[in-house]
Symmetry: C2
DNA sequence: GTACAAATCTGAAACGATACAGTAAACCCG
DNA sequence: CGGGTTTACTGTATCGTTTCAGATTTGTAC
């Protein structure tokens, strides 16, 4: 084990004006105050004189003091870390980078750091959450792929551990979340496909275990009912399926007279690519033989298949809101005030 | 400031069999050994008996002991954190999520955590690096957007701080890196466009300050020379420009008889979308009026513009290699052994 | 002038880990 | 069997911070 940049800390109790990074001791020495006083002054404690506080803050600012995170963490248990738990089943298009950037933008300027914890939802849904709680390696967590009865939500709430979710549960637990109104999305999507004269619509949904699958299906079904359109069911694949599987299934549907849709509502941009590709491979053309609606946070569809019905979903805003929700939870804001549903505009 | 999940730690020196998370003290109490012995046993120190080591490890395993990171960090300065420094100018398509997943996959099972630090390359190239070194908030860093004379590389090496870069410098400093052979990429791209009979080629390069811009330009120029083709220069825009700017510039080029290329070599997938879109908006068709080559880690181009010449770049492998490079640097492996250039296959 | 309260400030202890400088026992040698 | 070495283990100090329980000074009331 090589120890790089070791600073050889032998040599007895060193004076306040030490060499390395300034600590409370350094400030205490410079101001002539006690370490305790300096600490309390910087934390704006009520029993420290105003003049002293200002003097301490001035010195601290001048010498570029920053509290040692390990010291704080050891003493208080506060890590100043927010953990984003990411599925390794990457939604390659857009979600991850936008979410990450939204979060870290909002965290910049706060004492919080963002750490990314990967997990495999199939084998280990509770693993990372449990790890974080048990080891106390973060003050709060953010995660997505929320289920109606989400064990992570229950686990965290039972232990009073702060979190915010990207998506809603169907539980009676009130917790911070950001969600896109997928019910509304599906309705709008159907409406706009209907406006193009489409009548036989298929929904390529998210995996059935996720809450927003139900939302999307509900909105889809209701709009179909209202407009008196036909649903062509898709059962074999979801937006999480491999592209090849989606393409194959769409190909089969298009080639079958009975099961052929003339419109698709798609749960993700990535899946939409596969749908279009599968339909085209079977000889069908978007805009002519079928239409497709999709959520997108990127402008790719609009460029490559201008006929696509695109409804914008803002993952960066989601990240920013979630970061905010967690830090405000840590500041004591009640969860009921930290919920938002992003409703797509009807236009 | 609400304190959640506080565990009320009053009550005098508590016994070894405490309530909360097990510490070295817990194990010491259970085994009847001293705390020091337990620590050294777990760290496989040479002066601890074999039998004792095994006994300690057994107990530690049974009760699920995990070292307190804050304790270790405070005492030793070791954070067990790798920081990925990400530009907020997101390369939305593919790079970020793949890199993040590649890194965290490789870090899983090690004691290392991944933290993501955002920065704005225009205003603050050195900022996050300096912050990390000064506050000691990570053991090593990974970053991209490398310049031939990269101040971050110099800064880190001067201070002996471990790092690995995604991209190369032109400096004499030997350091760990992963790079894609962009020179080779450009050559292959040109060759394949030439094979389609294209003769007037334009390169949409990365920003000129990045090292791989030079690599790509060199490869491009050399292949043009060798095959006796014409270069149509692009000066106004790079792959980092706004899509609108790229579209506009490509539109102008296509409409001008003198400046019209019949082939594009593109530095990124995102930019390629804009190029195609710009050319199509001007009434030109890929495969008929022009061809385009692009690096892609996703399979979108192949689906939407089947004529595209796609050369695959594996960002996940990059992430895995870089994570490995940093941890191995920390383990004392010399930097010269931690370099890799990913050469795209000629096929 | 005494008693009490308020306003400021402070040392010691603790969080969990490891480095250092030992100590105790066993072993080896002539 | 004394002296020296080796083996195995341990107490103390320390990293930087905050909490706790005072301590000191000043102000106020009677």
């Amino acid at each position: 084990m090589a120890e790089m940049a070791e600073d050889g800390q032998g040599g007895g109790p060193r004076p306040g004006g030490a060499k390395g990074r300034p600590t409370l001791r350094t400030i205490a020495y410079m101001t002539g105050l006690g370490v305790t006083t300096v600490s309390r002054a910087l934390n704006d404690a009520p029993d420290i004189g105003q003049a002293t506080k200002e003097r301490v803050r001035l010195v601290a600012g001048q010498i570029g003091y920053r509290p040692n995170r390990a010291g704080v963490r050891l003493r208080t248990g506060k890590t100043n870390v927010i953990s984003l738990i990411l599925s390794v089943e990457t939604e390659v298009l857009g979600l991850t980078p936008h979410l990450v950037h939204g979060i870290s933008e909002r965290l910049a300027g706060t004492p919080y750091h963002l750490i990314v914890t990967p997990y495999d939802p199939r084998t280990d849904p509770l693993g990372p959450v449990r790890y974080i709680v048990e080891t106390g390696s973060a003050d709060g967590v953010i995660f997505s792929r929320i289920e109606p009865e989400d064990p992570r939500v229950r686990y965290l709430r039972e232990r009073g551990f702060p979190f915010a979710t990207h998506g809603r549960t169907a539980m009676d637990i009130v917790h911070p979340y950001f969600d896109f109104d997928n019910e509304r999305y599906a309705e709008i999507a159907v409406r706009r496909l209907a406006a193009r004269g489409r009548e036989r619509l298929a929904l390529l949904p998210p995996p059935a275990n996720l809450t927003y699958c139900q939302h999307m299906s509900t909105g889809f079904a209701r709009a179909l009912d209202r407009l008196d359109l036909t649903e062509i069911p898709i059962r074999e694949v979801t937006i999480d399926s491999a592209h090849e599987a989606i393409e194959a299934e769409v190909g089969r549907m298009m080639r079958s007279a009975r099961r052929r849709p003339d419109g698709f509502v798609c749960g993700s941009a990535s899946a939409a690519i596969a749908v279009i590709s599968g339909a085209e491979a079977a000889g069908f053309e978007i805009g002519r033989d079928f239409d497709l609606a999709v959520k997108d946070s990127f402008h790719m569809m609009e460029k490559f298949r201008r006929q696509t019905v695109v409804i914008h979903e803002d993952f960066r805003a989601a990240g920013a809101f979630l970061a905010d929700a967690v830090t405000r939870t840590l500041a004591g804001v009640p969860p009921g005030e930290l919920q938002r549903i992003d409703v797509p505009p009807d236009a």
